[in-house]
Structure formats: C-alpha cells, structure tokens
C-alpha cells in the first residue's frame, strides 16, 4: 500500500481522540539531534482543522488492525474497513519530514490492539526507539499505553515518550462492560496508577541524579467519551476531579460521541454529536483547574447536568446571590475569579491597577473584563456597574442572549432544540 493511503487510513482512525496538546515538557536543543520541546510549555497549535480543533501532533495509529471489539469504535474487529499498519521506519521518516517543515510539534502514537496488548506495545517501543535513536528525534512524543500491557513494557514506553496516556473512554464500569467487553476498569486503571507513581519516582530520582532516566516527564492525560452511554455530567465531573486529584492527571479530554455504528446499546446513527455538552464540560474542567471551583459546587443531586443555555460559571453565580455583588476595589483574587466576565488575566490586572486608585467601570473594560457579563455582579467603590438592578429573571435572560450570540452555529442549533423541548 502506498504511504499516502496508509496515512489516510491511520489518521482517519485516530481522529476521534481529542487529546492533541504538547504541553508540559521543556527540553532545549541538543547537539546533533532534531528539534526541541521548548515551545511546548504552552502547547503550540500548528494548524486548525475544518472542525476548528487545534492540530499539534502527527496523530496516527500504528495499526488499525484490532483484535478487540469495542462497540463504539470504527476499528473494532467486526467492522468491515481496510486494515493497515505503518512500519517503524515509515512512521519515523514521516515524523521527521513533518517536524522539520514545522507542520507539527511531534508525534501522537496510539494503536489498535494488534494481536495482543504486549505485542502492540513492543511494536510501539520499536518505532519510538528508532525515532529517538537512529533518527535522533528530540521533539515531543505522546504515546498511548494499551490497557492490559505488562508493566515492564509500559515502563519502557514511558522512557521514550514525553507523555503517556490511557483512555478511559467510558465513564463507568457498567458502560465498559456492555460496550467494551474486552476491557475492564482494572486493566485501564492499573497502567494509570503505574504511570502516576512512575512519574513521581522519576522526578524524585532526578533531584538526586541529573542523569536518572526520565519517565513521561509531561505526565499523563486521558479521554472520556461523552454521550455514548448514560452517565450524567455530575458523574463525569466527579470522575474528572478524582483523576486530577488521585491520579495527578495533567489533562482530562472530553470527546462528544460521533455515532459510527448502528447498535441497540448506542445512540442511533442520526444522532448529532453532543458538542454543546462537551463544551460545557470543558468550561467546567477549566473552572476546576484554574478558578478554584470544586465539582460539588457546580453540580449536585438536584441539578446533575449543566444548563445548556448558560456557561457553568454564570449558572453558579445566579444560584449564589448571597455572594454578590463583589466590590472590585477590595475583593481578593479568589473572589474576583468567581465573577462572570472576570478571567485569570483580568483579575490579576485589577489587583495591579487598583493600587494607584479606585477603579471605575470604564477602567475595568480596558483591563479586559467582559462587562456585558460582569456588570450584574460588581460594584466599583460601592456603585453598581449597571445603575438599574435587574430581577433574577432579567439577568438570566440577558446573559443567555449574550451566550447565544457567542456560540458557533452548530451548537446554536442544538440550543434551539433544547428550547423547543422546554
């Protein structure tokens, strides 16, 4: 098969994986090697695909020839698709060729289960060794650990990669059982635990010896599929929180399920991917990581799913009138962050700018505060930013109108769908 065909098949099979960042590893240039990862701190987008997603890495499968039969997956054994695999040399050359031309920041290597988890992992190790060794590649590598692979092999993989990840995909054991019969929660969590301790150990060693082997220096991430099975947003967000806490994950990605197969257990083929729901989960994830929110503050038993019409932060604010209005000239950083329309950057700017004197509504706009949202929740030296005090319903309606205008067309369609339902 021609390389162009292989690339088409193996990129197509990998495209549903949302994790495509290159953040967290800093490694400068090395004499005689190709590339560095120093721009990867913030993650570097090399292009955006037609769906608007950032493309950082050459994201491909090593092989799509799977022995497993996960029901939601295009590569499952029972599906009738063309099968192929890269040779280690083909993939190494492709990576180098793309990297030198500044198309990519590195390689994202995943694979279907070719024969067995161990055999697949061995092949991945061979590919990455060739790329790091003979082809002297010093750029970013993100490798997928295959659930069920033996710990020694996962360890070797982690020495070659900057980031290792295991996709949980289905957010509960029950869904796993019904939709991914060859996988178990244990087979997924075991490598995650191994990676967590491997990374910590390697860091501790590095403090002692500079030449200690580096195990996945950029940590691990995972992906959850949203909308293939019946879990609530609350269930997913609680899982996320424990993954950040217990497993020290760097990122959790969410992937709106795109129906690829007709199956009684799955949403029908004409179901639109729940993009708006995915968007809300990413917003909430952001609030957990940078805004000091806890999952239980955002959702609870009474409200297990996000309101599609408003972002999670506005929702929280509307449910907590006792917290507002916040006085910009006195509030601390954590409090400012809770105000809709105030972000990490503008909150920090407020702290600096108010040292020279009290701030007014006009200043806030220049400091980057989105006053359209923030006006209802702030006072400047005791004065409300909007002179008239609106009712709860009024504020809600205004915020929803702003939100509606900000959403992309596809998500807007989904919103009008909600409107009709109720």
């Amino acid at each position: 098969m021609e390389l162009l065909d292989k690339l088409t098949i193996l990129a197509d099979a990998a495209k549903y994986d949302a994790a495509c960042t290159s953040s967290g590893a800093r490694r400068g240039h090395v004499e005689g090697m190709i590339g560095s990862t120093s721009s990867s701190i913030a993650g570097c987008c090399h292009t955006f695909s037609a769906d608007g997603r950032c493309v950082t890495l050459l994201k491909v499968l090593l092989s799509n020839d799977c022995v497993y039969d996960c029901k939601y997956c295009v590569n499952r054994r029972s599906n009738d698709v063309r099968r192929t695999s890269f040779t280690p040399k083909e993939l190494a050359e492709l990576t180098i060729g793309f990297y030198r031309r500044n198309y990519i920041e590195g390689l994202f290597l995943s694979s279907a289960v070719l024969g067995s988890p161990d055999r697949t992992t061995e092949l991945m190790i061979r590919t990455l060794s060739l790329l790091r060794g003979e082809y002297r590649f010093n750029g970013y590598i993100h490798a997928k650990a295959i659930p069920g692979a033996s710990p020694e092999l996962v360890y070797q993989l982690g020495l070659l990669a900057d980031r290792l990840s295991v996709n949980i995909e289905l957010p509960s054991e029950a869904s796993l059982k019904s939709l991914a019969p060859n996988k178990t929660k244990r087979a997924i969590l075991a490598p995650m635990r191994q990676i967590r301790y491997g990374v910590a150990e390697s860091k501790a060693e590095l403090v002692k010896y500079r030449s200690a082997p580096r195990f996945a220096p950029a940590g691990q991430s995972t992906q959850l599929i949203v909308g293939a099975s019946g879990e609530s947003d609350r269930h997913i967000l609680n899982l996320t929180e424990s993954l950040y806490g217990q497993y020290r994950l760097k990122r959790v990605f969410y992937s709106a399920y795109v129906p690829v197969v007709e199956n009684a257990l799955l949403p029908s083929l004409d179901t639109k991917p729940p993009l708006l729901r995915e968007h809300r989960l990413y917003q909430a994830d952001w609030l957990l990581r940078f805004y000091g929110f806890r999952a239980c503050e955002l959702l609870d038993e009474a409200q297990p799913d996000f309101d599609p019409r408003l972002d999670p932060k506005c929702c929280w604010a509307l449910r907590h009138p006792e917290f507002f209005p916040v006085e910009v000239n006195r509030a601390d950083y954590e409090t400012l962050l809770r105000v809709p329309g105030v972000g990490v950057v503008s909150a920090k700017r407020i702290l600096v700018a108010r040292r020279t004197g009290p701030l007014h509504a006009d200043d806030l706009r220049k400091l980057g505060v989105v006053m359209k949202r923030a006006q209802y929740f702030l006072t400047c030296s005791g004065q409300l930013a909007t002179p008239l005090r609106l009712s709860y319903a009024g504020v809600m309606a205004n915020l929803m109108a702003i939100e509606r205008a900000a959403l992309p067309a596809a998500q807007f369609e989904q919103l009008s769908l909600f409107d009709r339902v109720g």
């Binding site: 162009l4 120093s38 020279t356």
Partner: protein, 282 residues
C-alpha cells in the same frame, strides 16, 4: 517646554528613537511627529534629522531602567508593532512616565499606556501564531519559509526557531517588512532583503506537501465541522503561506536553481562552513 512645530526624522532603529527622546529633552522642545527616514511628507513644519547616537540612547535607557526594569523591554516590543504613529505613542508614554514616576506603570488603563499594551498583546499573539503556522520547505537540505506578518516579528521568532532548528540551516523571509532571518551553524542574522521569490518544490518536497495536505483533510471530523471556530483560531490572513491551503502545483521544477539565486541575492548563505556575511544587520 516650548512648543515649536518640529518633526523628527530618524533611522528607524530603537536606539534612534531613544536618541529622538534625548534630543527633545536637551533641546527643550516637543516634536509634532517622529518619522522614519524617507517617510516625511513635504510640509510647512521644520524637519530635523536626528542622528542615532549610542551614548544618547544609553542615557535615556538608563534613566528609564531606574524607574523600572520592565520599561525598556516593553518599549522595544512596542517599537516592533504596527501601532499607527508608534513613535509618538512611545514618546507620550515616556513623557508621562517621567512626569509621574514609577507609579504611572500601574495605571494600566491610562490612555497613553493602554494602547501600547494592546499593541504588544497583538504582537505576542502574532508571534505565537507564527511559531505554529509558519511552514518550511526543504531546498537542497536547507529550510526556507515566507511569512506576511502585520508586526515585525522576526526578532521575536529568532530565539524559538534557532532553538528548534539548532542543527539546521534556515531562512525566514518577511514579505511585509522585506527582511529575512538567516541561520547557519549557531549564528543568526536579520537582514533587509528587497525582493525574494521562493523556489518551486522538488519531488520529495512535493511529496511531503501532499502527505501533509492529506493528513490535514483527514484529521477533521465532518460531523463537527465549524468554519467559524477555525477562522477565529486561525485568521485567514495566515492561510496564504500555509501548505495545507495551497493548490498543488502540477509540475515540480527543480528547487536548487531558485535556492541558489537566493544565496546570490540579499545575504549569502555560504555553503562551505555555512558562513553568513551581510552588510546590514539588525
């Protein structure tokens, strides 16, 4: 300060601009405008050419550093932006800073300060974009790229690409500002280069472009298509120099000819030892 209608003309360098500020304070006059050599339009005002004097620039620079170590780096960046009348914007900012002292630096929303911050923010965004969106082609083992930025980004892209392409030989041509960043063997230079035409791809280069285009087209999920989001993440003005948006050329004439023409024009990228030598450097 006396109000005389006077226009300063300078050589466009940052030190030149600082020399203008020095001139203004020693002559006790406030310029109406500060323009680059050759940009002054005939008018009734007096036009004075202010020479770039290293010692004068250093005096101004030292006085500003005493107020805060962040000022000079900020102003250097502003000077690279496409802010209209950036020289006078810098002048007004400096005048206010001298008058009010370091406290002025916290007044982020002041009219003489905020536009500078905004311009620098846009500059940083463009630099960040181009780190990713810039596309090299391989000619004869050497990397070459063209960009069309709004701001003068080459000085800020320099560190990144010299690190990333440490063991390569490369050039980046800025069409807007007609200058090129050249790099070989650990040495880099930014040189003015009036015109430049990039070589046509050879067979291997054409193959890689085709592979990349195919990857780009394949990686999108059709059910999630979202032109608005793509456009806001990657404005159209970058597309002109990105491989994935170019029509494939039917034929692929040899690249070497054009690449060599580059070596013979602006700067020479010597083959033996990859030596760089140019008259003007930035």
């Amino acid at each position: 300060m006396a109000w005389r209608e006077i226009i300063y003309q300078y050589d466009g360098s940052f030190d030149g601009l600082l020399s203008c500020i020095y001139e203004s304070y020693t002559q006790k006059e406030r310029p109406t405008a500060i323009v680059c050599d050759g940009d002054a339009e005939p008018c009734f005002f007096e036009v004075r050419t202010v020479a770039t004097v290293r010692a004068h620039a250093e005096r101004v620079s030292r006085s500003l550093r005493r107020l805060s170590p962040d000022v000079i780096p900020l102003l250097r960046r502003v000077h690279l932006t496409c802010l209209p009348n950036k020289e006078m914007a810098i002048y007004r900012f400096v005048a206010k800073l001298y008058r009010e002292g370091p406290r002025y630096l916290t007044r982020l929303s002041d009219d003489a300060y905020q536009p500078l911050l905004r311009a620098v923010h846009q500059l940083s965004t463009e630099v960040e974009h181009l780190r990713g969106f810039l596309r090299f082609s391989v000619f004869d083992g050497m990397l070459g790229a063209e960009i069309e930025p709004k701001n003068r980004v080459l000085p800020l892209l320099r560190g990144h690409f010299c690190d990333r392409c440490y063991n390569e030989t490369f050039f980046i041509y800025d069409r807007t500002h007609r200058e090129a960043l050249l790099y070989a063997n650990g040495v880099s230079r930014i040189v003015p280069l009036e015109s430049f035409e990039i070589a046509a791809p050879d067979a291997e280069e054409a193959d890689y472009r085709r592979l990349w285009k195919r990857f780009y087209d394949t990686i999108a999920i059709p059910e999630r298509e979202n032109p608005k989001r793509r456009m806001s993440n990657m404005p159209k003005r970058y597309w002109g120099t990105m491989t994935e948006f170019q029509e494939e050329s039917a034929e692929a004439p040899p690249a070497a000819e054009e690449a060599r023409r580059f070596r013979g024009s602006g700067g020479r990228l010597g083959r033996g030892g990859g030596r760089l030598d140019h008259a003007a450097t930035v």
